[in-house]
């Protein structure tokens, strides 16, 4: 199988991201919270690879700890959205009828009429800042996409001969859904989840940038960018490193999503390449 070098790079970057998230205290050269006011706004050097911020904190350490926040929020939101979305989508697609009309037309379409990020914004704006609240807020609008996708896939798969055969043999609905239908729903969901992770990490960074996400002093990439903006002219490294981190991670998730789609769906492979 031909390996795309971009996929390899993406997987490597995401590997580093996960490593940073898992072992931040071991990897970070310094305590990300310790302020050395005498050393504020230092450019990158041997002592501080990524320089220091306006409170003299080590930027590299803060970027590493920031990865932890991004990963934690990203995976939690996607997991929660997926759980809710897949559940609702499966029920709507499998049973059809009034349940489908209620879930699909009423609930999903109503929520779709309002942009998801704004819903999240409204939530965090009034619930107040905090990681847990942010996860809830982002999941609130996040599950809809998965529900729609899963519903469509379940509807398609439900009519397949082998599912009909299993049904005729008396397989119970629960087993039918999990064992017979779900395996063919998983691939497109995986693609959506990879791209969804990128979107969630971006949303978190955006909200933190706007001062509505994770409150300081917890290091987050969005928050660091927001703080760094005041020094964009005299200390551009404060903007450059968190911006690069966000960009590389999102780029990698997007590449991975594309690569997954190509591999999982041979029909699309031809069209995309």
């Amino acid at each position: 199988m031909k390996r795309n070098p971009l996929t390899v790079v993406s997987v490597t970057i995401l590997g580093i991201l996960l490593l940073c998230a898992a072992a931040a205290p071991q990897l970070a050269p310094r305590d990300p919270f310790v302020q050395e006011l005498a050393n504020r706004l230092q450019p990158p050097s041997a002592a501080h690879w990524f320089g220091t911020d306006e409170l003299g904190r080590d930027v590299l350490s803060r970027v590493i700890f920031g990865a932890r926040v991004s990963v934690w929020i990203g995976f939690s939101v996607v997991a929660l959205s997926l759980l809710v979305g897949a559940g609702i989508g499966t029920l709507a697609g499998f049973y059809g009828g009034w349940l489908d009309r209620l879930l699909n037309r009423v609930v999903i379409n109503t929520l779709m009429a309002f942009p998801g990020v704004l819903l999240a914004l409204a939530f965090v704006a009034f619930l107040g800042p905090g990681i847990g609240k942010l996860i809830l807020a982002l999941s609130f609008g996040g599950w809809i996409g998965y529900a729609r996708l899963v519903r469509g896939e379940v509807l398609k798969t439900r009519e397949r001969d082998y599912v009909q055969a299993a049904k005729a043999l008396g397989v119970r609905p629960g087993r039918l859904m999990l064992v017979h239908i779900w395996p063919s729903v998983v691939p497109p969901v995986m693609v959506q989840a990879a791209i969804g992770l990128a979107a969630v990490i971006l949303s978190e960074a955006t909200l933190s940038f706007l001062g509505l996400g994770v409150p300081p002093p917890t290091p987050t990439w969005g928050g660091m960018l927001s703080d760094g903006r005041a020094h964009v002219f005299d200390a551009p490294h404060l903007v450059v490193f968190p911006a690069l981190s966000v960009m590389l991670v999102i780029l990698s998730f997007n590449f991975l999503g594309d690569a997954l789609r190509d591999r999982l769906d041979p029909r699309l492979r031809k069209e995309l390449l």
Binding site: P115, A122, F123, F126, G211, A243, D258, E271
Partner: protein, 337 residues
């Protein structure tokens, strides 16, 4: 023709009717979110050291001492009469503030859309035509890059490059340089709602590019996919066999059909555009609805927050409606159906 117009009008009416419950839900959701959450706007307005009696009086004046349900019914009652209430902070009718800020956001969004379309249509067509060869790969990489670059990073970067290093373009639409370097948390302190609307001139370029970049990336991918699909159709072969030059085939025949799915995506992307406008407006101190919403949230200006969210929701619904109608302009088959 007449039957067609009637059908279109019926379709429109049905869509409008469907929008009403959605609006009601949005209004209610935002209302209860605001009112059920701790944080006293009066305390915030009068400051920590305000006397309890003053706080109490102001709460009474603003109707905040009533039960939440009473406030809700009153709010709805005023809303159906078109009264959005009075801003706590600016002491001005909310509708007036919104009307003064709204054109700036529309201008920015349209400019961003223009930037996105100007970039995406030629790029998408070129990528599709050169499918699999280097222009396609390059454009694919660039568009993925554009998708991954958060607009809160694009903005400062563009400022750094164009306004500071090259000195080519003005940095901010309405105010001196320091505006753009204010941290987001300081926004709530700005007490200016009555800002002149910027003219559509060079000041618009950097914010429009910032806001339009991600959309351009998404659209490029869409245009490419959909042009690729069309290029394989029989009518393309017919058009070429007729001796039409390649330009006419690509842009008049293929693109017109290829744009149908793109129009749908445009409507769906509006939400991203609106939330992106919040960031972009903040970075460039653009006096639009996005920045106003953030200011209102930061100062817990309930009526203004509600007004802003309502405005955004209405915009979203109206644009989706327009998308729907555009859809039938681009593709007459939809009209027939």
């Amino acid at each position: 023709m007449k039957a067609l117009a009637i059908a279109a009008a019926q379709h429109l009416a049905a869509r409008l009717l469907y929008a009403l419950p959605v609006l009601f839900l949005v209004v209610s959701l935002v209302f209860f979110l605001i009112h059920l959450v701790p944080g006293d706007p009066v305390q915030q307005m009068l400051g920590e050291r305000a006397r309890a009696a003053d706080v109490e009086r102001m709460r009474r004046d603003l109707g905040l001492d009533q039960p939440v349900l009473t406030q809700y019914v009153r709010y709805l009652g005023r809303l159906v009469q078109g009264d959005l209430g009075q801003s706590f902070r600016f002491n001005t009718p909310v509708a007036e503030i919104i009307v003064s800020r709204y054109p700036a956001t529309i201008m920015l969004a349209l400019a961003a859309l223009l930037v996105a379309l100007l970039l995406a249509i030629p790029a998408g067509v070129q990528a599709a035509v050169h499918r699999g060869r280097w222009p396609d790969r390059l454009l694919g990489f660039v568009s993925l890059l554009g998708l991954s670059f958060p607009n809160f990073a694009v903005g400062p970067l563009l400022i750094l490059i164009f306004a500071v290093e090259i000195g080519l373009l003005p940095v901010s639409g309405s105010g001196p340089l320091y505006h753009l370097i204010l941290p987001a948390s300081a926004l709530g302190a700005a007490a200016d709602w009555d800002i002149a609307i910027p003219r559509p001139d060079v000041h618009l370029i950097l914010p429009a590019v910032t806001l339009g970049a991600a959309l351009a990336a998404i659209l490029t991918r869409m245009v490419r996919m959909s042009v690729l699909e069309e290029l394989g159709q029989d009518y393309v072969r017919t058009a070429r066999a007729k001796g039409l030059d390649e330009r006419t085939v690509r842009y008049k025949h293929v693109l017109r059909n290829g744009l149908v799915p793109v129009v749908t995506v445009l409507g769906l992307q509006l939400g991203a555009l609106l939330s992106g406008a919040m960031v972009t407006e903040t970075i460039f101190s653009w006096p639009g609805i996005g920045r106003l919403t953030l200011q209102a949230i930061n100062s817990r200006d309930y009526p203004l927050v509600q007004g802003c969210f309502l405005t955004i929701a209405v915009t979203y619904i109206v644009v989706n409606l327009i998308t729907d109608l555009l859809y039938s302009v681009v593709d007459p088959r939809v009209r027939e159906a």
